[in-house]
Amino acid sequence: MTTAPSGDNSLLKDTISMRKIGWLERFLGPENYRITVGLLKTPASILGLVLIIFFVLIAIFAPLIIPPVDGADPYTIPRDGFISDPQPVGSAWKKNVPPVPFWYKAVTGKDAWVHVMGTSEGQYDIFYGVVWGTRTAFYTGLMVTIATLLMGVIYGAVSAYYGGWLDNVMMRIVDILLILPGILAALILAAVLTPKIGKSLIPTMTALIAFGWMSYSRIIRGDILSVKERDYIMAARVIGVKDSRILFRHILPNAIFPTLVLASLAIGDVVLSFAALSFLGIGTQVGYADWGQVLSFARNWITSLNTYWYIVVFPGITLILFVMGWNLLGDALRDVLDPRMRGRS
């Protein structure tokens, strides 16, 4: 064990670390460990984490919270008739009633389902849409994030590693793709793809992927440019290791962590864009369990939103809380990753 020199060594104490290094720190490395721990320090980031875990639980237990109607597609919101006017919170559920789950009677004291959050235009149950929409949110958020991350990382890595004119051309392409504002570009591509693929999650997801990967490729490019110059890369090159092996085995693992964390926190933004597009009416079938879709019904009722407040408030708050969870974590992350904040607690 190292001992600190005796005497007035308050400054030295900070430099010579006497703390134990846990398995997690050994596994992640000191810098990545600092980021991970920093994320869980502030009350704001913990609140963010709690919100995300809450939504994860809702997504996992959706079939227990409100089971799908027998024989129906679980991702289609059950309709209680076809009247166009929304029905208020607590009104009786007459047609297409889902099975009653075990918790329902204990919590509400009723034997049969009512519309817990009311119904929207066309008698789509809002509670069902909110609960099952959580699954849609995680699914689209994860898929789009993983795909954009993969594309961005491979593109940025190749660009940074080979450098020179190739890097120049590849980055100009990124510039061009970034000129069109993201939501408009995605709107256009989704609109073009919908007639080809049909109404589903796919056109919007594809569009968000196609116009979403560029920022990752910029970030990873910067990180790789700094790792690329280190001695061990030179050593690998000297002993004749193949380019692809140097890039994917030696450089990427050492440069990817910040991008990875950033990407995982971008899920909130992806879900927001997705909801915005389906709010506009792009993408899924009418009645698909998706928050943007549920909110889009409100567009026809803006003159009477004072009566039908529940068609905006419930799905709206759900979406806000979901995105806020990711943003709270993201905010803490920005502080941790900011080099100027390093060394301060």
Binding site: A44, R172, I173, L180, L189, L280, L305, G316
Partner: protein
């Protein structure tokens, strides 16, 4: 400075080429029949006429040939008249509006411009003011409140905020309506007595001496402006705050304080101008994105601008129109980016020297 501007200008054709290729690439995802709206007004109803039309306009030619014809148009074999050609300002026909896309843009763009002009001050100035206050009172109550506001602000989806605004100020309080003008005034401005000097309704109303119409137009813009402000305040606040905090830690600020200057002079005369450099870029991009039409805000408030038109065309799968809007936006954004870059170089000498 001159070399910087020349270098930047040389990039413009490259960007133009790139953006047009991206947009045309999306156009090529359509079937040749759908693409015929680039050249002819009506959808060919007669199945038998289809192969003729496709052949006539070369709609199954290779990519580069079609791209060329999309750029410069092609002569009609019968009349010899030029059809299409975005370089000549022909963006094709919108099927849902049954008029040329360019006419649609001409109708809609003034409204978007009008909104942008009136939104700039509240969006940018208030955001900056909030950021400066947060930095000056670092870690104080104002700072904490600002921080919470900026997190809640960035988490608030535009359309949810817009719908809540409508719920409160339109459906409940009846203060502000969605749309562009009240019906009465819409009729007045379409009558011959009302001169359209600028096609911007607020300015035309003032020039015609119709103060009531001006007020009506402003009233219809209050909610969209509020929505736009709310989401950008969060961003402005964050950028201004961190830039200001950094500047306040610099040594020349300490010097200024040591000289015994008033604290307000130190903050507003010495620190703030230097802290504004990153904010200027952000402000530039903000204006650009407003000009490009704000798809969601305009749609929620039923505001007849470029953004809501693009959204409507996209939903009704009028793709030639959507891509026309995208092309127009791309052109505006390229020019506006150029202006922002040059202004930025004027403000910050480090940019043009690197």
């Amino acid at each position: 400075m001159t070399t910087f501007i020349i270098r930047r200008l040389l990039l413009v054709p490259v960007l133009l080429f790139g953006v047009t290729v991206v947009i045309f690439g999306m156009m090529m995802l359509l079937s040749p029949t759908e693409r015929s709206a680039l050249y002819i007004r009506d959808f060919p109803k007669n199945e038998a006429a289809l192969p003729g039309i496709i052949k006539q306009y070369g709609l199954d030619d290779p990519f580069y040939l079609q791209y060329w014809h999309w750029m410069v148009g092609r002569a009609d074999p019968v009349s010899g008249e030029r059809k299409g050609g975005i370089l000549f300002g022909d963006f094709g026909f919108s099927r849902t509006a049954s008029e040329p896309v360019v006419t649609l843009i001409k109708d809609r763009f003034p409204n978007t411009l009008d909104l942008t002009i009136w939104a700039v001050a509240p969006v940018i100035l208030v955001g900056i003011w909030l950021g400066v206050q947060a930095a000056v009172h670092h870690n104080g109550i104002i700072d904490q409140a600002a921080r919470i506001f900026s997190i809640v602000g960035t988490s608030f989806p535009t359309f949810v905020f817009g719908l809540l605004m409508l719920m409160l100020f339109y459906a409940t309080l009846h203060w502000f309506q969605p749309g562009r003008l009240s019906d009465v005034n819409l009729r007045i401005i379409s009558q011959p007595g009302f001169n359209h000097y600028t096609s911007l309704i607020t300015f035309d109303a003032l020039l015609n001496g119709r103060f009531d119409i001006f007020l009506d137009a402003i009233r219809h813009m209050v909610l969209p402006i509020l929505t736009l402000s709310y989401i950008s305040w969060a961003t402005f606040l964050r950028v201004t705050r961190s830039s200001m905090l950094e500047t306040l830690r610099m040594e020349y600020v300490t010097t200024a304080r040591a000289k015994g200057l008033k604290e307000s002079d130190v903050i507003y005369k010495h620190a703030q101008p230097n802290a504004m450099i990153p904010v200027v870029t952000l402000a530039g991009f903000q204006v650009i994105s407003l000009l490009g039409g704000v798809v969601i805000t305009e749609t929620v408030f039923n505001y007849p601008g470029i953004g809501s038109a693009a959204a409507r065309a996209a939903v009704s799968l009028d793709v030639v129109a959507v891509l026309g809007f995208a092309l127009f936006d791309g052109l505006i954004l390229i020019v506006a980016n150029l202006i922002v870059d040059i202004l930025y170089a004027v403000v910050d000498p480090r940019v043009r020297l690197s």
